[in-house]
């Protein structure tokens, strides 16, 4: 009897252990989002749909919280060969306050042929088909008014405004990636902090230097390839250029300054940095191209893995001069995963993302479905808004305000209300109230912005109701990194439930990056006047190393197989 009891006890112990192990595996597996390489078809699908639709998608994203400015990039006028950068350097940077005069002045000097303008024009004509049938130029005043209205509107509803002019195929591809990056916010309902260039650099400088020292430039402000190389590539990414020659082993950015910055910035070792790599790519490839790239943004995500950095890039090519170099971006930028829709296809159809890729859409089919749904219902839909632009007075949002984008159901209600707001004053009031509640001016304004701390007109409603309070937030009330409040500790952060995630993270940390050792030592002889640095670069053995790793893995698997026999009692 006792022997039987011991056998039962033995198996019960094994069973419980297995259950624990399976729980750990399940937790780690479920927590890790699926990695599916997005296909070329997906990119094309995304490119088919315009930016407005994806802005709608952002609107629909549940609980997206926007702080700060709006980034606008790659808006150009090709026919006149006039960059619209000035247009948005005046209008875009002050978008939240919407400088009417600057808008008027800039608009009058340019022929705006952006996608948005044409889209609005189509909407003005009643439907999309009429726009195609009637190729006449839109009435300037009408387009301008629509554009102005849209810009003002989008202040409250977008996590990023990309007005794109497809002035050549190359940038068109990048733009499609930019759209997709925005779409990823909607897909995963990310909490986004938007920083315009200035704000980002202010914070970046604040971290690395004194507040007043703005000598450092990141991805912004460079105008030549050399500047990009020295400051952006060389400094931030620790990218090693030697005499302008790309050195594939020079990057040591696994824990680059950007990552350190994010660690500091997030204070929770979690974050996403979104880069439109177009500036880097374009500038390195073509120094005279003044493309300003896109905003560098940090994104807070709740449903992504902790302790893992996600890079979001809109172009996975790394260009160097005239050569397209296939490179593993996860190593290049030091991020563990990438969100991208724009997998760079090289000339030999290789993808530039070798190791890691994080899909933004798990199913290509769902993209048009999603967009079509939102097109019909979204608040910014021309049917609901543009036809009656004066029905609602769009609020002006102070820079740095927190804007919570309504959920799909709320958008549906809002669009219904908007459609009848003109005839029913009480509905108009309701819409106005609903819009007002979306905006929460910051109580603690970043002193760097210089923005006045606007009083909160709606103190009572808790917009971020889905965001539980951070118990640590009271400890650092003067911290201007207000996004920390959004980072909510969950079960995975508290003891003892954190143990499976900690174990997983422990091993996961070992997996970041892979590069061949480079050994340098100096040979010096005063007697013979000899001074030479010997550099032993093992990257020439990359293929051999790959074979060795495979063999090591095979050995490990064999060891597991042998161990399994003992474990299951087959011996």
């Amino acid at each position: 009897m006792k022997q039987k009891f011991q056998i039962i006890k033995k198996y019960l112990t094994k069973f419980v252990c297995c259950l624990l192990i399976s729980a750990i595996i399940t937790c780690t597996t479920v927590y890790e989002s699926p990695k599916i390489l997005i296909t070329e078809a997906a990119v094309e699908t995304l490119a088919t749909y315009g930016i407005m639709e994806l802005i709608f998608a952002i609107l629909a994203a549940a609980g997206v919280t926007v702080v700060g400015g709006v980034a606008i990039d790659e808006l150009r006028d090709t026919d006149l060969n006039v960059s619209l950068d000035n247009f948005f350097s005046e209008v875009g940077d002050t978008l939240y306050e919407f400088n009417e005069e600057a808008f008027e002045e800039s608009y009058n000097t340019l022929v705006v042929q952006s996608y948005l303008a044409s889209y609005l024009q189509m909407a003005c004509n009643g439907n999309g088909d009429s726009g195609d049938e009637d190729p006449e130029e839109p009435e300037p005043d009408k387009t301008k008014e629509l554009l102005k209205k849209a810009l003002r509107f989008l202040q409250i509803g977008t996590a990023g405004l990309y007005l794109d002019q497809e002035f050549n195929q190359y940038l068109a591809e990048i733009n499609s990636g930019a759209r997709a990056s925005i779409g990823s916010y909607a897909k995963y309902g990310l909490t986004v902090e938007m920083l315009n260039n200035e704000l980002f650099m202010q914070r970046f400088n604040k971290y690395f230097y004194d507040e007043d020292n703005h000598d450092f430039f990141g991805f912004y402000g460079e105008t030549t390839a050399n500047d990009v190389k020295q400051s952006a590539v060389g400094y931030i990414l620790n990218y090693d250029y030697e005499g302008g020659v790309y050195n594939p082993n020079g990057y040591t950015s696994t824990y680059s300054d950007i990552k350190k910055f994010l660690v500091h910035y997030d204070d929770e070792n979690m974050g996403v940095i979104i880069m439109n790599t177009s500036k880097l790519c374009v500038d390195i490839k073509n120094s005279k191209n003044g493309n300003d790239g896109s905003a560098l943004k940090s994104v807070k995500v709740d449903n992504f893995k902790e302790n893992v950095y996600y890079g979001v890039c809109t172009d996975s090519h790394i260009y160097h001069q005239d050569k397209i170099t296939p490179i593993d971006l996860s190593r290049y930028y030091g991020f563990d995963y990438y969100i991208t829709s724009d997998i760079g296809y090289l000339e030999n159809n290789e993808t530039a993302l070798i190791d890691y890729c994080f899909d933004i859409y798990t199913n290509v089919v769902e993209v048009p479905q999603y967009v079509n749904l939102l097109r019909a219902r979204a608040i910014a839909s021309p049917s609901g808004f543009i036809t009656n632009p004066d029905a609602i007075e769009m609020p002006i949002i102070p820079n740095g305000s927190v804007v919570t984008i309504p959920k799909v159901a709320e958008i549906q209600q809002l669009t219904d209300d908007i459609s009848i707001a003109e005839t029913q004053p009480e509905v108009g009031t309701r819409v106005q109230t609903a819009l007002d509640t979306l905006i929460q001016p910051q109580t603690q304004v970043d002193p760097d912005t210089g923005a006045d701390p606007a009083p909160n007109p709606n103190p009572s409603p808790e917009v971020n109701s889905t965001t539980p309070p951070d118990p640590d937030s009271s400890a650092a009330p003067d911290d201007d990194d207000d996004v920390d409040n959004y980072l909510t500790p969950g079960l995975k952060d508290v003891f003892p439930f954190c143990i499976p995630w900690d174990i997983y993270a422990l091993f996961k940390n070992f997996t970041s990056g892979r590069s061949a050792p480079v050994i340098e030592f100096n040979l010096k002889s005063n007697r013979f006047g000899f001074n030479h640095t010997v550099r032993i670069d093992l990257s020439v053995f990359d293929e051999v190393a790959a074979i060795c790793r495979t063999l090591e893995l095979a050995l490990y698997m064999m060891a597991l197989a042998v161990g399994t026999r003992k474990l299951i009692g087959a011996e």
């Binding site: 198996y11 094994k14 069973f15 297995c18 259950l19 192990i21 399976s22 595996i25 780690t28 597996t29 040591t252 696994t254 824990y255 660690v263 070792n269 302790n307 190593r331 109701s465 889905t466 539980p468 309070p469 118990p471 500790p489 969950g490 079960l491 952060d493 508290v494 003891f495 439930f497 954190c498 143990i499 995630w501 900690d502 993270a505 422990l506 091993f507 996961k508 940390n509 070992f510 997996t511 970041s512 990056g513 892979r514 590069s515 061949a516 050792p517 093992l538 190393a545 060795c548 790793r549 495979t550 090591e552 893995l553 490990y556 698997m557 597991l560 399994t564 474990l567 299951i568």
Partner: protein, 78 residues
């Protein structure tokens, strides 16, 4: 009503979470990632692949024991 219950549950959840201590390992776990020459180590040893294989192996073992226990319980095997 659903919202109320959801909010109630969320608040209860928040209270519990706030009462529990934060992970004592997190800082040390993160420090592991900053160990120098980790990338070079990975060049020699396929750590990520080993982790993946181990996960798959553990899953298989767990399934084996689950099935084994089940079959023993219904006395299909001795």
């Amino acid at each position: 009503m659903e919202d109320f219950l959801r909010d109630l549950l969320m608040k209860f959840y928040d209270i519990i979470i706030a009462a529990l201590p934060r992970s004592p390992f997190a800082a040390f776990v993160n420090a592991v990632g900053s160990v120098p020459y980790l990338a070079q180590l990975n060049w020699f040893i396929p750590v990520s692949e080993i982790i993946a294989v181990t996960e798959a192996w553990l899953t298989a073992i767990v399934l084996y024991y689950l099935y084994s226990a089940l079959l023993r319980y219904i006395k299909v095997i001795g």
